[in-house]
């Protein structure tokens, strides 16, 4: 199966590569963070209430910028 992927026709590999790039870009910039949060919450028993997308965004921003996250 792996061999087939590796040697797939370039026309088939390109869309796959673009999808992976798009997914990576969404994760890198933070667009996928809320989906991640929901998925992580779904797999674990959580006592606290679920945050809305807007609440989660504000909470994440507060957490991220409370510690050194940008270097010189």
């Amino acid at each position: 199966m792996k061999m087939q992927n590796k040697f797939a026709h370039p026309a088939r590999r390109l869309p796959r590569a673009l999808r992976a790039f798009w997914r990576g870009l969404r994760e890198w910039c933070g667009d996928a963070s809320y989906d991640r949060y929901l998925a992580a919450r779904a797999t674990r028993e959580s006592a606290c209430c679920k945050l809305t997308r807007a609440e989660f965004y504000v909470e994440q921003a507060n957490r991220r910028y409370s510690r050194p996250n940008r270097c010189c």
Binding site: A39, E59, R67, P68, C71, C72
Partner: protein, 695 residues
């Protein structure tokens, strides 16, 4: 067969890297092409990553990929998020690469291209990458603990305290000096000032969009913001062309300093989502775009390097900053070679997101190699311009004179030909009134970048747009470091003050928040102000201070790593962290000594203070300037005291480390490691991070 091919390929890479390095080292006379720099850097990086990082991984760290990382064990969807290694590489690189690798090499270009380039490549391979890599690995093994926490647990409480103070010190000095870089780039430049001022309402607009209109849709909001910023760069030209508007945005250095201080306070006190976070998103996109564009531009244009390999200023008489190659080249270039600040990132967010221990090699060692390459590109951009122009832009008026004629005469007398017309024409071509006396590295880098970009797209017609795009890019992400750093500094002050009076530690307590914000802003604001009024340009005093503080933090990180390795029984390989540590201690202690005690008034803080005091006593200073001169004398003594405090911390840290290492090696103290308990991974071996079914 495959093995034979691999051996041949790596021998070819070794020949390419070593050959290119030898070429730039021994080349004299005719200009050398920038591609030799690219080949030397990439060849050396490839070898270092393939062999040296593998050696460090195998002999010192010994990964265990059956062990669950903090991201797997905790996986709370907030801090601990399993992340694909390439995405995390991007996160980590965006976090570590700030203005330092652009500004430091540009300043160090005054020695010629050779010392800085060799330090960037060798320093990264043997010191910076190793530091980032081992600290990341040790933090993964300790549930993502911070450098300070690890130093307290593994070295001693005193080691942890020094780490905490070093972080605060570096934060204050860093913020002061990078704010000075922005001031020197924007002063008397209506176009650049307008563009940067516009980024504030644009960031707030993006913040409101992300908070209320389309919460959390970072990419689309950032694209809107980036488009508006590019429009602001273009609109800046209309502002510069309109006499009334140009006058409104022509602001002096002191006024700009106070504007930045007010901005820092606002960014620290306002809700994060309104200004700080959206600015960071915009900055990250523009940073990534500009760095890739610079790399592409260098590859396409392949400029000749006009700066000689070594200049006459290796003797310590440099106009940009005073001091000989040793030690000043090695503290001027910190980020790009080794930066202690990186250890805060390596022990902060990244270890909580990594999937496997073995990925710390790509992310810790690899991302730092990439930052080093950014430094090499900055060196290429600075050295691709005529040396005379480089010195005219970066030298203070007190050395080369405040007019184009005076600067041309002085710089030509040094042997670097320059005419006043060249400087006037260049200023006109980039849409500025003057490019003279803009110490700090940002404008000369912008000229270098603009020349490379305009050779690719637009020609001389777009030179002014490219110049202001480059200035905006540098100033934007300097301001991002400024506001994020001010906020973190505010939390550090609240934490320290909270030990004395508990309510202070509550970050939501408004009076505490306002007082600590004002305090951190006042601390770095004072350094900024003294830099702006400094007759020697400010950078001459403050950039070495920043370098010393940054390397102090690197010493903390390397002491921590060495202590853990002793506890792990890796005695035979201790040189991997001890040798860079000895080098850094030697460099920082020598630089500290010279900055405090040198008899040369351009280097020694105390000798300048003494000289100015004598001039006042002899009646050589006009009465109207006595108050200003006394302030400069006070600032020199303050800088000497700060340098002495940093040097003392390094000494205390080394003594502390030696005691702890002796106790451990003599088995008088148990070698207890504070690692998180082993938990076996539940993930399949080829798991790549797409954990939750998002596509």
């Amino acid at each position: 067969m495959k093995r034979a091919f691999s051996i041949v390929a790596w021998i070819a890479v070794a020949i390419l890297g070593a050959g290119s390095l030898a070429k730039i080292a021994v080349h004299r006379g005719e200009p050398i092409n920038a591609m030799w720099f690219v080949a030397a850097a990439l060849g050396c990086y490839a070898l270092a990553f393939r062999f040296y990082s593998a050696f460090v991984a195998a002999r010192l760290l010994t990964f265990d990929d059956t062990r669950a990382t903090p991201a797997e064990r905790v996986d709370d969807g907030r801090d601990f998020v399993p992340t694909n290694k390439w995405v995390l590489f991007g996160h980590h690189f965006a976090a570590i690469a700030g203005p330092g690798p652009l500004v430091g090499p540009t300043l160090a270009a005054q020695f010629g291209y050779l010392p800085g380039t060799i330090w960037l490549i060798a320093g990264a391979i043997f010191a910076g990458c190793v530091q980032d890599f081992v600290i990341l690995f040790f933090s993964i093994r300790r549930n993502g603990k911070s450098l300070g926490e690890m130093a307290r647990e593994e070295v001693s409480r005193r080691g942890g305290f020094i780490a905490q103070i070093a972080v605060l010190a570096i934060m204050v000095i860093l913020l002061g000096v990078i704010a000075l870089v922005v001031v020197n780039a924007l002063k008397s430049s209506p176009w650049a000032t307008f563009t940067l001022a516009m980024t504030i309402p644009i960031a707030m607009l993006v913040g409101l969009y992300l908070r209320f209109l389309r919460p959390g849709r970072v990419m689309e909001a950032s694209l809107i913001g980036v488009s508006l910023i590019i429009f602001a760069v273009i609109a800046g030209q209309w502002v510069a062309d309109s006499p009334a508007w140009a006058q409104a945005f022509t602001i002096s250095g002191v006024a700009l300093a106070f504007a930045l201080i007010a901005y820092g306070f606002a960014a620290s006190a306002l809700p994060v989502w309104l200004l700080l976070a959206p600015r960071d998103y915009l900055s990250a996109f523009i940073k990534a775009g500009a760095i890739f564009s610079l790399a592409a531009g260098i590859l396409l244009v392949r400029p000749d390097i006009l700066m000689p390999p070594l200049t006459k200023f290796i003797d310590g008489s440099g106009p940009v900053f005073a001091g000989k190659i040793f030690p000043f080249c090695f503290i001027t270039i910190a980020c790009g070679a080794i930066s202690g600040f990186h250890s805060l990132i390596s022990s902060g967010t990244t270890p909580k997101m990594i999937l496997r221990e073995s990925q710390s090699r790509l992310i810790g060692y690899g991302a730092m190699l990439m930052e080093s390459f950014v430094g090499v590109m900055a060196m290429v951009a600075a050295c691709a311009m005529t040396p005379g122009v480089y010195f005219a832009i970066n030298s203070p008026a007190s050395i080369v004179g405040g007019t184009a004629d005076a600067a041309a005469k002085t710089i030509s007398s040094w042997g670097y030909s320059l005419s006043a017309a060249t400087m006037n024409d260049m200023a006109k071509a980039v849409g500025e009134i003057t490019l003279l006396n803009r110490a700090g590295g940002a404008p000369s880098l912008a000229v270098g970048m603009a020349q490379i970009f305009s050779s690719t797209i637009g020609g001389p017609r777009l030179l002014s747009i490219w110049y202001h795009f480059a200035i905006m890019f540098e100033a934007l992400f300097i301001l991002t470091v400024l506001d994020a750093g001010t906020r973190v500094g505010r939390f550090m002050i609240q934490e320290l003050a909270g030990r004395l009076w508990k309510p202070f530690a509550q970050t939501s307590w408004v009076p505490g928040m306002l007082i600590s914000s004002a305090l951190i802003v006042a601390l770095w604001g004072y350094f900024l102000y003294q830099g702006v009024i400094d007759p020697l340009g400010g950078i001459n005093s403050l950039w070495p201070l920043f370098g010393i503080a940054n390397q102090l933090l690197a010493c903390v990180a390397l002491v921590l790593a060495t202590t853990i390795m002793i506890k792990m029984g890796r005695i035979r390989w201790l040189w991997v962290t001890v040798l860079p540590m000895i080098w850094l201690v030697t460099v920082t202690m020598t630089a500290s000594y010279q900055k405090i005690f040198s008899a040369n008034t351009r280097i020694g803080f105390l000798s300048l203070a003494q000289s100015l005091t004598a001039q006042i006593a002899a009646g050589k200073i006009p009465t109207a300037k006595i108050a200003d001169t006394q302030r400069i004398i006070f600032n020199q003594r303050l800088d000497a005291a700060v340098t002495a405090a940093l040097a003392l911390m390094i000494l205390v840290l080394i003594v502390e480390a030696l005691v702890q290492w002796y106790l451990l090696l003599a088995k008088k103290r148990p070698a207890t490691l504070h690692e998180s308990p082993y938990v076996a991974t539940a993930w399949a071996q080829n798991f790549s991070g797409v954990a939750h079914g998002d596509d």
